[in-house]
C-alpha cells in the first residue's frame, strides 16, 4: 500500500512537471496560459471535435491492446497499419472511377483500408501455417510487401494530374488537426462499436488469452474469437490511421496496455487502466499539438504514451522497476544478515571453547569471517553495519564488536533452520551429507513457521529439545 501511495504521488508530480513545463515555455505570457486553459477545457469547437475523436480512439485502443499484449501479438497492429495503405489507394481509385472527385470519401477509404488490413492479417496466418517461415518473418514480409504496393499505388495516383489525390499521403503520418466533425463521427462510431464488442466478449477473450486449449475444450469457438480479436485490431488500426498515421498506429495499441501491465495483475483493472492511459495520452497529444501547431498530433500522442510507459515502468505499483528493486534489496539484506549470523555461530562453535561459554558477547573478527566466507571486505562491512543497525551486533566504544543477546538468539534460530533442513534432506530425501549444505543455504532464508513446525515434528525423535542440532557434516572454511 505504501509503495502504491508513493507511485501515485510520483504520478501527480509528473503531471505537475508537465504543466510546469508548459507554463515555462512562454513564461509571463498571459496569452499563452489563457490559451492552455482554452484548449484544455475544450472551449474551441475545433479542439472539441478533434479531442473527442482522438480520446475515444485512444481509450478503445488501450482496451484492445490489452488482449493483443496478452496474446503476444502486439506487433500485429504494425502489420495492419502498413497493410492498409494499398486498400486506401485502391478504394480511392475505385471511387474516382465511379464518379470523379468523390475519391476522398472517408468511409469508403476506411472500408478499403479495413479490407486490405484484414487481408494482410490473413496472409500472415496463411504464411505461418503453410510455409516454414516463423511468425516474425511472416509479419515483416506482409508488412513490407503490402506497404511497398501501397506506396507504388500512391505515387502513381499522386502523379496523375487530376489533383484530387493531394491529401492522401496524410494517412502515412496522420493529421489529427485536419479532422472534421464528420470524420469524428465515423471514428467515434467505430471506436464505440469496437469498445462495445470488446466489453461484450470480455470473458471470452480473457479465456482465449490465458488458456486457449481450455477454451477450445469447453467448446468455445476459439477460431472465431481469434478472428473477432483480429477484426477489433484491424478496425482500431484503421480508424486510428487518420489521426496517428499508419506507421505509428501500432504505438497506441502497445503503449497504454504495456504501461497498464506495470500497475496490476488483475485483467479487469489492467483494462481500465489501459483505457485511462490511452485516453490520457490522446488528450495530452492533442492538447500539446494544438498549442504548438508545428508538432504533429500523431507523434505527440505516441510520445505522451511513451512518457506514461516509461513512468509506469519505473514507478508501477505491481511490476515497476523500483518496487521490484526494493523487494530484491530486502531479500538480499536478509540473506546477508542470515549468512553473517550463521558464520559467527559456526566460528563460535569451532573455536574449541567450553560449551558453557555464552554465544552472546562473542567477538566479531573481520579476519576470521573473511576467511570463512567468500565475502569481499566491502560486502562484509555492509552486512555488519546493517546488523548493527538492527541491534544484532553491538559496539562497546572500542573497535571490537560482539553479538548482542538478540543477535545470539537470532543466530541460533538461523543455524537451527539451516541444520533442520539439512537433517531433513539427509533423512528423507536421501541426499549425501556432503551435498546438503548448498541447498540448505538457499532454503533457510525462506523457511516459514508452519514449515518449521512440520520439520520439528518430523525430526522430533532425533532432536527433542528446541536447541541447535549439531551440523550433520563438516563445516569447511573457504
Amino acid at each position: 500500500m505504501k509503495s502504491n501511495g508513493v507511485s501515485w504521488g510520483a504520478f501527480l508530480l509528473l503531471a505537475m512537471c508537465f504543466g510546469g513545463a508548459l507554463q515555462a515555455q512562454e513564461q509571463g505570457s498571459e496569452e499563452f496560459s489563457s490559451r492552455v486553459l482554452r484548449v484544455a477545457l475544450l472551449q474551441d469547437y475545433n479542439t472539441r471535435v478533434v479531442m473527442a475523436g482522438t480520446v475515444m480512439l485512444g481509450a478503445t485502443s488501450g482496451l484492445v491492446g490489452v488482449f493483443m499484449l496478452l496474446r503476444r501479438r502486439s506487433l500485429l497492429g504494425d502489420v495492419v497499419g502498413h497493410a492498409s495503405l494499398p486498400g486506401i489507394m485502391i478504394a480511392f481509385l475505385v471511387m474516382e472511377t465511379i464518379s470523379a472527385g468523390s475519391g476522398k470519401w472517408l468511409p469508403g477509404l476506411l472500408v478499403g483500408a479495413m479490407a486490405s488490413g484484414f487481408l494482410g492479417v490473413l496472409c500472415v496466418t496463411w504464411l505461418k501455417r503453410n510455409t516454414r517461415l516463423k511468425e516474425d518473418a511472416t509479419m515483416a514480409i506482409v508488412l513490407s510487401v503490402f506497404f511497398g504496393g501501397g506506396i507504388a499505388l500512391m505515387t502513381a495516383v499522386q502523379k496523375s494530374p487530376s489533383g484530387n489525390a493531394a491529401g492522401l499521403n496524410s494517412f502515412v503520418f496522420g493529421s489529427a488537426a485536419a479532422m472534421t466533425a464528420a470524420d469524428v463521427q465515423i471514428i467515434g462510431l467505430g471506436a464505440v462499436g469496437a469498445m462495445a464488442l470488446c466489453l461484450l466478449l470480455f470473458k471470452e477473450l480473457t479465456v482465449l488469452c490465458f488458456d486457449e486449449e481450455f477454451a477450445a475444450a469447453r467448446g468455445w469457438p476459439t477460431h472465431t474469437l481469434d478472428l473477432a480479436l483480429m477484426l477489433l485490431v484491424v478496425s482500431i488500426s484503421v480508424i486510428g490511421i487518420q489521426s496517428v498515421g499508419l506507421i505509428l498506429v501500432v504505438a497506441i495499441l502497445i503503449l497504454p496496455s504495456s504501461a497498464a501491465r506495470f500497475w496490476t495483475d488483475d485483467l479487469r483493472h489492467m483494462a481500465w487502466i489501459a483505457v485511462g492511459f490511452g485516453g490520457a495520452s490522446a488528450y495530452f497529444g492533442v492538447l500539446i499539438s494544438a498549442l504548438f501547431p508545428r508538432l504533429a498530433a500523431g507523434a505527440v500522442i505516441v510520445l505522451a504514451g511513451s512518457v506514461l510507459f516509461a513512468f509506469s515502468m519505473v514507478f508501477g505499483a505491481r511490476r515497476g522497476i523500483l518496487r521490484r528493486w526494493r523487494i530484491h534489496r530486502r531479500l538480499t539484506r536478509q540473506v546477508g544478515r542470515h549468512d553473517l549470523l550463521r558464520t559467527v555461530f559456526e566460528l563460535w562453535e569451532q573455536s574449541g571453547q567450553p560449551p558453557e561459554t555464552p554465544l552472546a558477547g562473542y567477538p566479531i573478527e573481520t579476519k576470521a569471517l573473511l576467511s570463512a566466507r567468500t565475502w569481499s571486505p566491502a560486502v562484509l562491512h555492509r552486512w555488519i553495519k546493517a546488523a548493527a543497525k538492527e541491534g544484532l551486533i553491538a559496539t562497546d566504544g572500542s573497535a571490537a564488536r560482539q553479538l548482542t543477546a538478540l543477535g545470539a538468539r537470532e543466530a541460533k534460530r538461523v543455524v537451527r533452520n539451516h541444520r533442520l533442513w539439512e537433517v531433513y534432506l539427509i533423512t528423507y530425501a536421501d541426499i549425501a551429507p556432503s551435498h546438503v549444505d548448498r541447498s540448505a543455504d538457499a532454503i533457510e532464508h525462506i523457511l516459514d513457521c508452519e514449515l518449521l513446525e512440520e520439520l520439528e515434528t518430523l525430526l522430533q525423535k532425533q532432536y527433542p529439545e528446541m536447541e541447535v542440532p549439531p551440523s550433520p557434516h563438516e563445516i569447511e572454511n573457504q
Binding site: 501479438r73 517461415l133 514480409i141 513490407s144 511497398g148 502513381a156 487530376s162 501500432v250 508538432l295 515502468m313
Partner: protein, 472 residues
C-alpha cells in the same frame, strides 16, 4: 496489353539501367544481413531499425547544423562530413534501439515484441517531431526518406565518373557486408543456429547481436538515401525468406537471397514503368504516369516469395500437397490389395469380384481417390480386369500378401506386448501396416517366434522370398 507493355519497355534507356543497378546493389546489400535476422528470428527488428534510422539521421543533421551555426565547424567541413555523420547517427540510434529494447524487456519484464514496438515507435515519433519542429534547419523531406529518390539517381554522380553516387555507396555497403560475412561466416552461422552452443564455444553472442544491429543500420542508411525506407524494409527479410523456402544450407541461402534481390530490382522497375500506364488508362486516368520503383520492388519481391512458397521443390505448398496426395493414393491402393486378398481368403479364390464390390468395400475415402488408386494398380499390373471382374495378378498377390502379413504381425505383436483387447487391435494395425518394412516384419516375426496365426485366428501369410539376414 502485352503489346502495350512491350511498347513501354522499348523506351528503356541508360537511366533505367542505372536505376536498376543502383536498386539491385541496395537490395543485395540489405538482403545479406536480412538472412541473419531471419534465422535469428529478429525479422521485426529489421523493421524497427529501418524506422529508427529516421531519428538517427535527423539528430545527426541537427547536431552538425548546430556545430556549424555555433562556429565550431566551417561550412566546407560541414558539407564534407554530412554523409559520414548520417551513418554515425543512424548506427548509434540503431544500436540504442536494440539496447533499449533489451532493457525494457529485461528490467521491465515486458514481452519482447511489445518492448520492441514500444521502443521503435517512440524513437520514430521523436524523429518525426524533431524533423517538423526544426523544419527550417533540417533539410530532410519525410516523403523523400520514405520513398527515396531513385528515379533521379543519375543526377548526382560520383566525382570524375558518370556512375551514380548512390550506386557507389550501395556497392560499397554490399562489398563490406560480403567481406564481413566471409570473414565471420563460422561465427555468424553458429550464433544464428545455436546461440547457447556459440556461447560455450567462446563466441560472444551479445557482441554478435549488437554488431549485427550496427551493420544492419549502416546498410540501411546507405540504401535509405537513394532508395527510401520502403525498399529497405522489403529487401531486408523477404529475399532471405524466399531463399529460406528454397534451401537448407546457409551458404546457398545467402546466394539465393542475392539473386532474388537483384531479380526483384529488375522486375520491380519494369513493373513500375509499365503497369501503371497500362492499368490507369483502362480506368480512365491519364496514361503518362509511373509508380515508385521502390514500392514496385516490394511488390516484385513479394511475388517472388509467393512463387517460392508455392513451387519450392521441398517446402512448397504444391509439392507438399502432391507428396501428401501420392501417399494417400498409395495407402488407398494398399487397402484395395488387402481387401482383394481378404475376399479371396474368405470365399473361394476363383470367385470373380466386380469393381463395384471393391468400391463398396468401405475404403473410407472419396470415390475419386479410390478410382484413381484402382487405375494405378491396374497400370502397375497388380490387378487385372477381365470382362468386368477384377482379380489379383501374381505380382499383386505377393504385394497383398506382404501387406496382410504386416497387418497381422502387428496385431500379434501389439496383443502380446501391450495387452490391447482383440476388438481394438485392428485400428492400430490399419495404420501400421503401410510402413512396416520387410526387415521390421522379420524382426517382429522373430520376436514372436514366427507365429502361424494372428490374434483373430487367421493365418499370417508367408513372404515370397524372405529377405536375407543381416550381414549375409
Amino acid at each position: 496489353m502485352i503489346y502495350e507493355i512491350a511498347e513501354h519497355l522499348s523506351g528503356w534507356t541508360s537511366l533505367d539501367t542505372w536505376i536498376v543497378i543502383t536498386a539491385a546493389l541496395a537490395a543485395m546489400a540489405c538482403a545479406l544481413p536480412g538472412n541473419l535476422l531471419l534465422l535469428r528470428r529478429q525479422s521485426m527488428m529489421g523493421d524497427a531499425l529501418s524506422h529508427v534510422a529516421l531519428p538517427g539521421i535527423v539528430l545527426a543533421f541537427l547536431l552538425s547544423h548546430w556545430l556549424q551555426a555555433g562556429g565550431w565547424m566551417s561550412r566546407q567541413m560541414h558539407e564534407a562530413i554530412l554523409h559520414p555523420i548520417f551513418f554515425a547517427g543512424a548506427m548509434a540510434l540503431g544500436v540504442l534501439s536494440a539496447v533499449l529494447t533489451e532493457w525494457v524487456q529485461k528490467l521491465g519484464r515486458v514481452e519482447s515484441s511489445a518492448s520492441l514496438g514500444a521502443v521503435f515507435t517512440t524513437l520514430f515519433a521523436l524523429g518525426l517531431l524533431l524533423m517538423r519542429a526544426f523544419a527550417d534547419n533540417v533539410d530532410i523531406d519525410p516523403d523523400c526518406v520514405l520513398y527515396g529518390t531513385i528515379e533521379t539517381v543519375v543526377v548526382n554522380t560520383w566525382p570524375g565518373t558518370n556512375i551514380p553516387r548512390a550506386a557507389v555507396i550501395n556497392g560499397a555497403a554490399l562489398l563490406g557486408n560480403l567481406a564481413l560475412i566471409v570473414l565471420f561466416y563460422k561465427e555468424l552461422k553458429i550464433s544464428a543456429f545455436d546461440p547457447a552452443l556459440a556461447t560455450t564455444l567462446g563466441v560472444n553472442a551479445t557482441v554478435m547481436h549488437y554488431a549485427l544491429m550496427a551493420v544492419t543500420s549502416v546498410t540501411l542508411v546507405a540504401a535509405f538515401e537513394s532508395v527510401g525506407s520502403i525498399l529497405v524494409i522489403a529487401m531486408l527479410v523477404t529475399p532471405a525468406a524466399t531463399a529460406h523456402l528454397l534451401t537448407d544450407r546457409l551458404s546457398s541461402m545467402l546466394g539465393i537471397s542475392l539473386v532474388v534481390a537483384a531479380a526483384s530490382a529488375l522486375l520491380g522497375h519494369a513493373m513500375a514503368i509499365t503497369l501503371p500506364p497500362v492499368f490507369f488508362s483502362r480506368i480512365g486516368f491519364p496514361a503518362d504516369v509511373g509508380a515508385s520503383t521502390a514500392g514496385m520492388m516490394g511488390v516484385a519481391v513479394g511475388m517472388l516469395l509467393v512463387g517460392a512458397a508455392f513451387l519450392s521443390p521441398r517446402y512448397g505448398v504444391l509439392s507438399r500437397s502432391a507428396r501428401r496426395f501420392r501417399l494417400r493414393l498409395r495407402i488407398v491402393a494398399d487397402d484395395i490389395l488387402g481387401l482383394l486378398y481378404r475376399l479371396n481368403e474368405r470365399g473361394s479364390a476363383e470367385q470373380p469380384r466386380t469393381f463395384l464390390q471393391i468400391f463398396r468395400g468401405a475404403m473410407g475415402v472419396g470415390r475419386l481417390q479410390t478410382f484413381m488408386a484402382f487405375r494405378w494398380l491396374c497400370w502397375r499390373g497388380d490387378v487385372a480386369i477381365q470382362s468386368g471382374y477384377c482379380s489379383l495378378t501374381p505380382a499383386g498377390e505377393s504385394a497383398a500378401r506382404r501387406l496382410v502379413r504386416s497387418h497381422r504381425l502387428w496385431e500379434a505383436y501389439v496383443e502380446k506386448h501391450f495387452g490391447v483387447p482383440q476388438s481394438q487391435l485392428h485400428h492400430s494395425a490399419e495404420r501400421a501396416e503401410h510402413y512396416l518394412s520387410p526387415r521390421l516384419q522379420e524382426e517382429l516375426a522373430g520376436e514372436l517366434e514366427s507365429p502361424q496365426l494372428d490374434p483373430h485366428g487367421r493365418p499370417i501369410p508367408k513372404p515370397d522370398n524372405p529377405p536375407p539376414a543381416d550381414g549375409a
